[in-house]
Symmetry: C2
Subunit: 205 residues, 2 copies
């Protein structure tokens, strides 16, 4: 039996996207969630999300009142707004989630949001689209069709036996983030295998 | 015998800084190095660095000719421009280096540059100043006087026995990046101890 994929898009609290690809995901989302820190900007562009999720302290009072029927406030401080949004979606059966607007601004928040992908991937299909490319969290296997010659970076989260025959430069079980950056695809179908978790970034070409 | 600190500032290939703190480091540098990808913008602001270091393919032909006497081109592709600049400085005896302009743009480059701090700290004193705060790579110990109530994040690079009594929330031997984010200083003198490498980010308040 094939798993049924329910797609949704989350707009997170970083810089609002400017690149065509993440913007298209927002415009074409069948189900759109905004973290409350991104809601004012989204609404100012005429886009009303299906729900606004967060701790409720990063949205203007005007919008908080006007859109109160679609705001879900979670006050617990153990998770950030992005995780609140993902949990909200998972509880409603969404299992194929694209995150946009999660980078830019404070770099420690960017690091946090990127690393959360490695938690989410344990339960759902998920990717993050920035103004520069796409982050794919992976367990054991990566497979995507991407433009030949695209810049590809691999950030290892403890995987062993990393191997590929679709990148220009050899890969290994990287122990620091910079080691797996600046590679390039040598085939249209890029496949990377390993035992465990790793993160693949594909830059827009 | 006290070690003599020789200070220098490196402008890297990310977004050119806009915050007052990194801009002040550029303006007040006693010795200023530009990665070649940042040189055009630096020069356009009327600031001529002491040296421009890199692979020479990211600077305009006009500036490449005009400033040929201060350009050092390293063509090897094993290291990025930031590491070429740091190596250049270390070979000249600089051992207290501040990096600015190393984030923004492609997030995989940002991750790479941040992680390189953990290599550099093995040989020199180094920090990275962004538009949002300061990254301090640490081995065993962190100690800085910072504004009370500053947001502090700890990214663990394998350290054990992490402990502090100068942050609001308890810390532990974090295994994923997001776990150590969103803490806050509870004393002006912030000290964090551990066995091994970790990275501390202090957001500007």
């Amino acid at each position: 039996m094939n798993r049924k994929w329910q797609q949704a898009v989350v707009v997170a609290n970083g810089d609002y996207p400017t690149h065509l690809v993440p913007l298209r995901y927002i415009n074409e989302a069948s189900y759109l969630i905004s973290c409350d820190g991104a809601a004012d900007q989204l609404i100012s562009k005429g886009i009303i999300p299906d729900f606004i999720v967060g701790d409720g302290d990063s949205i203007s009072l005007t919008n908080k009142e006007k859109y109160s029927s679609i705001i879900k406030i979670y006050t617990e401080q153990e998770t950030n707004d992005l995780t609140k949004a993902i949990t909200f979606l998972m509880n409603r059966g969404y299992n194929d989630i694209t995150i946009v607007g999660a980078t830019g601004k404070r770099e420690d928040h960017t690091l946090g949001n990127i690393s959360l992908l490695m938690e989410y991937i344990q339960n759902i299909k998920v990717k993050m689209i920035t103004d520069y490319g796409i982050f794919y969290p992976c367990i054991d296997h990566f497979q995507e069709i991407i433009t030949l010659g695209s810049q590809v970076s691999i950030i290892n989260f403890g995987a062993t036996h990393l191997k590929t025959n679709s990148l220009v430069y050899p890969i290994r079980d990287f122990t620091n983030w910079w080691q797996g950056t600046l590679n390039e695809s040598s085939k249209e179908l890029v496949e990377i295998d390993g035992h465990g978790k790793f993160l693949v970034f594909v830059a827009f070409k």
